[in-house]
Symmetry: C3
Subunit: 196 residues, 3 copies
C-alpha cells in the first residue's frame, strides 16, 4: 500500500505556497520530498559531488543512475508513509525544455496523482514581476503558455506510464488561494483512506 | 486484416450525433462498441458486479484486468468485422483526468484511427447549456479548452503506442453537421477497401 | 560519442530558411539529413520502388522496416559526424495526422535535441499565402494552431523515449530571422564540444 502525489507547476504559479498551506491542513501525514535535494544527497554519498550545482554538470548517464536510485528510495519511503514530491513536469533550461521524469523513473515511482497548478499567463507574469527577490527568467505570455502546454503533454505521458490521475488546480487571482488549497487537500486526504 | 476506429470527443461536442449519422451512411458495416458497456459485461461474467456503477468502484488492478480482457475481445471481434469504439481520450472525474486507455490496452487494440471531434469552447458550452436533460458538469471555457488540449496530447501518446492516424473533425455551428459527418464517413469507408 | 539534432516545424514557419542559414554559420560540420530522402534510397536498394511517390504507398509494415533501417543508418552516420535531421514531428495527411517517428524509430535514433520552430498562426498563414509557388494546404488559423499543439505533444513523447531536450525557437516577424538563426546555431555549436 503506497500513496505518492507529484505536484507540479511552472515558476510563479503559486505551487510552494499552496503546497505548504495544504500540508498544514491535510489529515494525512505526508513526507514532502524535493527530488533535486534527494539527487544531491545520493550524489554526495557516491562521492561524485560536493556542491549542489555540480549535480547537473554530471554526465547524463550518471545523472540518470542517480535519478533511478532516488526513484527506488522514494518507492521504499512510500511503503511507510504517503509521499508528496514537489517537482516540475518539464524544466526550462537555457538549452531547452527537459522532462522532469525520464521514462524509467516514472515507471519506478508510479505516482497515484500528478497535480498541475495552473494560472493564466498574465497572472503568472504579474506574480513573477512582483516577486523580485527571486531570480526568475523573464518570459513573455506566449512563452508561459507554451511551458504550461508542454507540462500538460508531459503529464499525459507520465500518466500513460504510471496510471496516475491528473488533477489540475487553477490558482486564479479572483478565486482565492483557499479554494486552490482545499482542492489539493482533497487529493492529499485520500492518503488517509489509502493507508488506513 | 482488421480495422479499428476509436472515436473521441468531450461531452457536448456532438460525438454521438455525428457517429449515429455516419454509421447510417457508410458503406462499411461497422460494429459499434461502447468500451464501458463491454467492461460491465465482463465484470458481470466474472461475478464481480451486478450494477454498472459498481465497475468503477472495483480496485484498480481488477479494473485493468477487465480492460485488458475487453481489449482482447475487441481484437478478436475486429478479425470478423470493422470496429468503431465510442470512447473518451481522457475522462474528467472528480479526482482528476483519467486516461481512457492505459498503455497495455492501447498496445493490444492498436486502433487504425483515433478520431477527435472538436469544437470551440464557446460552442461546446452553448450546446451543454441547451442540453438540459443530461446531467453534465458545468465547466468554464478555460476548462473546456484544457480538456480538449489534454485529449490532443492523449491522442498523440496513443498514436505513439499504436501507429494510429489522428483525424480531427471540427463540428462548428457555421459548418453544418453534414460536413462533419461526411469527414467521418470518409474514414469509415476505408474499412471497405481494407476488408475487401 | 554522437550528436543528433532533429529540426521540426510546420510548413510556412521558416524551417528550411533558418536551417540553411544556421548551417552556414555553425562551427560544427553537420551532415544534413532528410528522413524521406533516406527512406526512398533504402526502398530503391531493396527493389521496392522506382519513384519517390511510391514509398508512402508501400504497406505499413514494409514502411516501418524501411524507417528502422534508416534509423540504424543514421545511428552509424552519427558515430562519424554530427547529424541534423530535417523532419516533421507530425505530418498532416488527408487521412489525418501521422507521427513522424514511430516508437521504435525514436528509440533507435535517440536524438540529443528536438528543435521546434514556431510562429503565431497568423504569421504562418501570411507566409503561406505569400509563398504561392508551393502547393500548400489552405488551413485556418485554428488548424495551424492545432497542428502546432499536436507537434508540441509529439515532441514531449519523443523526448520521453529518447531523453532529448526540446528547444523551441520562435520565428516572429518583428524579431528578425537573425535571432532565430542564432538560437539554432547555439544548439548546433554544442556538437563541437561534444565531438571534440
Amino acid at each position: 500500500m503506497s500513496f505518492v502525489v507529484m505536484i507540479t507547476g511552472i515558476p510563479g504559479v503559486g505551487k510552494s505556497t499552496i503546497t505548504k498551506m495544504a500540508l498544514k491542513i491535510t489529515k494525512a501525514k505526508f513526507r514532502l520530498i524535493n527530488f533535486g535535494d534527494l539527487m544531491f544527497n545520493v550524489a554526495v554519498e557516491k562521492g561524485l559531488v560536493k556542491h549542489r550545482d555540480e549535480v547537473r554538470k554530471l554526465d547524463p548517464i550518471t545523472q540518470k543512475e542517480i535519478q533511478l536510485e532516488v526513484a527506488r528510495r522514494i518507492l521504499s519511503m512510500a511503503e511507510k508513509e504517503p509521499i508528496l514530491i514537489d517537482t516540475h513536469a518539464t524544466i526550462k533550461t537555457p538549452k531547452g525544455y527537459l522532462l522532469g521524469f525520464p521514462l524509467e523513473v516514472i515507471e519506478t515511482i508510479r505516482p497515484d496523482f500528478i497535480v498541475i497548478i495552473e494560472a493564466t499567463p498574465s497572472e503568472i507574469l504579474g506574480r513573477r514581476l512582483r516577486d523580485l527577490k527571486r531570480d526568475r527568467d523573464v518570459e513573455t505570455e506566449e512563452q508561459i503558455q507554451r511551458h504550461q502546454d508542454l507540462n500538460r503533454a508531459a503529464a499525459i505521458t507520465y500518466a500513460m506510464h504510471s496510471d496516475a490521475l491528473i488533477k489540475v488546480i487553477e490558482n486564479h487571482e479572483d478565486k482565492g488561494l483557499d479554494e486552490a488549497v482545499a482542492e489539493l487537500v482533497e487529493i492529499l486526504d485520500m492518503a488517509v483512506m489509502d493507508h488506513a
